[in-house]
C-alpha cells in the first residue's frame, strides 16, 4: 500500500513538472500573465489613478476583485460557525452573559 501511494505521488509530481515545461520562464516580462492588457496591465497602470491607493495589491484585493475578499470574509465566518458547531459548547442560555462560570477560585495553576 505504501509503495502504491509513493508511486502515485511521484506520478503527481512528474505531471506537474511536465506541465510546467510550457509555463513561462521565471521573471519573464513578456509572460502571458504579465502582458494581458485588461488584467495585470490594467491593475498596474490604472490602480493608482482609479483608487488613489498606492498599494496595488490592496487595490486589487478590496476593489477590483473585492468580491473574492467578500467571499474570504464569508469563509472566515463559516470557519468560526463550524468550530462552534463541531465542538460541544456549553449552551449559551445555561451560561448567561459568559462571565466564565468556571470555578471562581483562582487556585494556583487552576487549569481545567
Amino acid at each position: 500500500m505504501r509503495f502504491l501511494v509513493l508511486a502515485l505521488v511521484i506520478l503527481l509530481g512528474a505531471i506537474l513538472v511536465w506541465g510546467a515545461t510550457d509555463l513561462p520562464q521565471r521573471g519573464d516580462p513578456l509572460a502571458p500573465a504579465a502582458v494581458h492588457e485588461s488584467v495585470a496591465v490594467h491593475y498596474i497602470e490604472r490602480a493608482y489613478a482609479e483608487t488613489r491607493t498606492p498599494n496595488m495589491v490592496t487595490a486589487v484585493l478590496a476593489d477590483y476583485r473585492g468580491f473574492d475578499t467578500f467571499g474570504e470574509a464569508v469563509v472566515v465566518v463559516a470557519a468560526a460557525i463550524s468550530c462552534l458547531l463541531i465542538l460541544p459548547r456549553r449552551s449559551p442560555k445555561a451560561e448567561g452573559g459568559g462571565e466564565g462560570s468556571r470555578p471562581a477560585g483562582t487556585s494556583a495553576g487552576g487549569s481545567r
Binding site: L16, V17, T21, A34, I44, T53, E72, L87
Partner: protein, 125 residues
Amino acid sequence: MILDFVLGRYPYLFIALLLMIGVHGMMVKRNLLKKVIGMIIFQTALYLLFIQGAKKEGASIPVYSPELGAEAGAYMNPLPHVLVLTAIVVGVAITGVAISLLLVIYRRFGTLDEEEILQKMRESA
C-alpha cells in the same frame, strides 16, 4: 534542454517536491495531526506556485511610486499576491476546522492514531 529548464523554471521543482511531501504525508501518516501537517505543506506548495509567477525581471514591488510612474514593466504583477492572500485565508479556515475535529475525536476516542480509532469504531458498532 535540461539546463535551460532548470535555470528558467527551478521554482516548479521545489513546488513539485513540496507537493509530493505534503500529499504523501497526508496519505501515509497514521497520526491524524500529522495528516493535517501534511495538508498544510500541500497548501504551502500551492501558495508558492502562485507567488513565483508574479516576478518580472527588473520590476519593483507592486506599490505605486511617483518616480516609476504607472508603467506596466516597472512593477510586478499584483494579481498572484491577491490570489495567495485569499488562498492563505481559506487554508487557515480549513486548518482551524480540522483541528476542532481532531479535538472532538481525541475527546471521544482518547487517541489520534487512525488504526486505534477504526478499531474502537468497529468495537462500538
